[in-house]
Amino acid sequence: MPSALSLTDISAAYSGKRALDSVTFMISRGERAAIVGPNGAGKSTLFKVIVGLMPHLTGDVMVHGHSHHAGDCPSIGYVPQREEVDWNFPVTVMDVALMGRVKEIGWLRRPAKSDREAAREALAQVGLTDLASRPIGDLSGGQQQRVFIARALTQRADVLLLDEPFGGVDVEAQSAIFGILDDLRQRNVTVLISTHDLEMATTRFDRLLLLNRTLYADGPADSALTPERLAAAYGGRLTFWRDGQPMTVTADDCCP
């Protein structure tokens, strides 16, 4: 069986500057993986390449064995970074959930009853039924993330990308999101998250990818991040918590 998401030798550049360099990894169906790395490591760029919004110079992206450029490629759900959304945009929670079905509804058609039903169901799954008719900007950060997850559900995406979903979200909202991700795992939805929270990445994911333009580590969450790899990726001093113990990493070559 082909893996849910596979990237082979992906390189990409922003106006001549290399942002990704020969990135290769595979994620199996139902796996929950986190991409970690410093700011500007190319995490968002990588997501944009995966969804086909940004061209890549080399390599291939395959989703369930289909090239992501092909028309029959299964669609990918995407939860944008908070900063990328205009929260004053006049849409309701229900409107956003329905956006997952725009393609299925088809050109020149309006959402049918079944589409609204699907959107309501998705909102129920993420616990937002009561807020369906509220403007998206009225919701809290955690609730907004859940609206976008609902949109991916109505899209019937079985690969879900979340770009820094925990920025500006409190602990309670975080665990609500993880609760939903646990449900998704039951349904074999593959989840790839970018985060700069190393502690969370090591404790709550199956798989870790350490990125800074290129991959510095790829493996099970509890063993992928060795001090050497972290030092190489972050290129400086870095402290994070592991098993309740502070762990400090110092790079040999200071400073970036």
Binding site: S15, K48, L53, F89, V91, T92, D95, L108, P135
Partner: protein, 276 residues
């Protein structure tokens, strides 16, 4: 009577019809312009059609095919700006600034070669609503309707590419063609409104009613509806004011729309302060 007196003149009737139609079309496309932050693009386009108008003048005189010249220039400029801003080598506003000023200069150069330079230029810049003919009304109505139909037909797709382009990419919507379509629709709107409002005040007619509506509505469909009502009302009320106070009609229309905006903005501020 006060309200009916101007209606005995057929040029006023035609003017009122044009003002109302232009108000609606500008407001509807303007809602997307406001949400996508394309205000500068609209302004640029309104000025960049000048060379097209000038060439049409040179070819056919003041009764010549101005509309079609403007249309050709507007669509060409829209596509040109679209292409230049695509690669991302130049910032969008920089690219627009370059094209807009260059085209505007070319237009002025061409028009200044004509004898009746100042009168004609004034009409292009500030409109000439009372000279609107039945044929003009037909063009305004036809092309205005075309813009409205295109937006209604592609509404949900246009909303998605405006709200979340990355999601649009995951759905494999043809985002680039849709973006170009929106630019062309703005171009058509500008040309449709040229004689009514003039190139110089065009942006106001596109931006102001939509901006006012955005303060009042929390759903896009409602925002568009409110914007259309404000746009049409500003057109009609503005023309009446210009009839009685004898000020330039384009300016009067825009001032009514601006007054609407200020009133709504102030009342929203006061309401927020009371709540806080």
């Amino acid at each position: 009577m006060f309200l009916f007196e101007p209606l005995q003149y057929s040029f006023m009737l035609r003017g009122l019809a044009a003002a109302a139609m232009v108000g609606v079309v500008c407001a509807v496309i303007g809602s997307f312009v406001v949400l996508r932050g394309m205000a500068f693009f609209g302004d640029a386009l309104a000025h960049a059609i000048l060379p097209g108008v000038a060439v049409a003048y040179l070819v056919g005189g003041s009764s010549g095919p101005l509309f079609w010249g403007a249309m050709a220039a507007a669509v060409a400029t829209a596509l040109g700006i679209g292409a230049i801003t695509r690669g991302g080598r130049l910032r969008e506003d920089t690219a627009i600034g370059v094209i807009f000023a260059g085209a505007f200069a070319l237009g002025i150069a061409l028009i200044s070669a004509i004898r009746s330079y100042s009168v004609d230029l004034a009409h292009i810049l500030f409109g000439n609503i009372l000279a609107i003919t039945n044929y003009d009304l037909l063009l305004i109505g036809g092309f205005g309707l075309l813009v409205l139909i295109a937006i209604a037909a592609l509404y949900k797709e246009l909303v998605v590419i405006s709200f979340d382009p990355i999601h649009a990419a995951t759905l494999r919507l043809p985002a680039e063609p849709l973006r170009y379509l929106l630019l062309v629709l703005v171009a058509v709107t500008v040309v449709v409104s040229l004689q009514t409002i003039g190139a110089g005040l065009m942006t106001a007619m596109i931006i102001t009613p939509a901006a006012t509506a955005s303060l009042l509505a929390r759903r896009l469909s409602r925002m568009i509806l409110i914007a259309a009502v404000i746009g049409a009302a500003s057109g009609v009320v503005g023309l009446y004011i210009s009839y009685y106070v004898s000020v330039a009609s384009g300016a009067a229309i825009v001032l009514v729309a601006t007054a609407c905006f200020i009133a709504v903005w102030a009342s929203v501020q006061i309401r927020q302060r009371r709540r806080a």
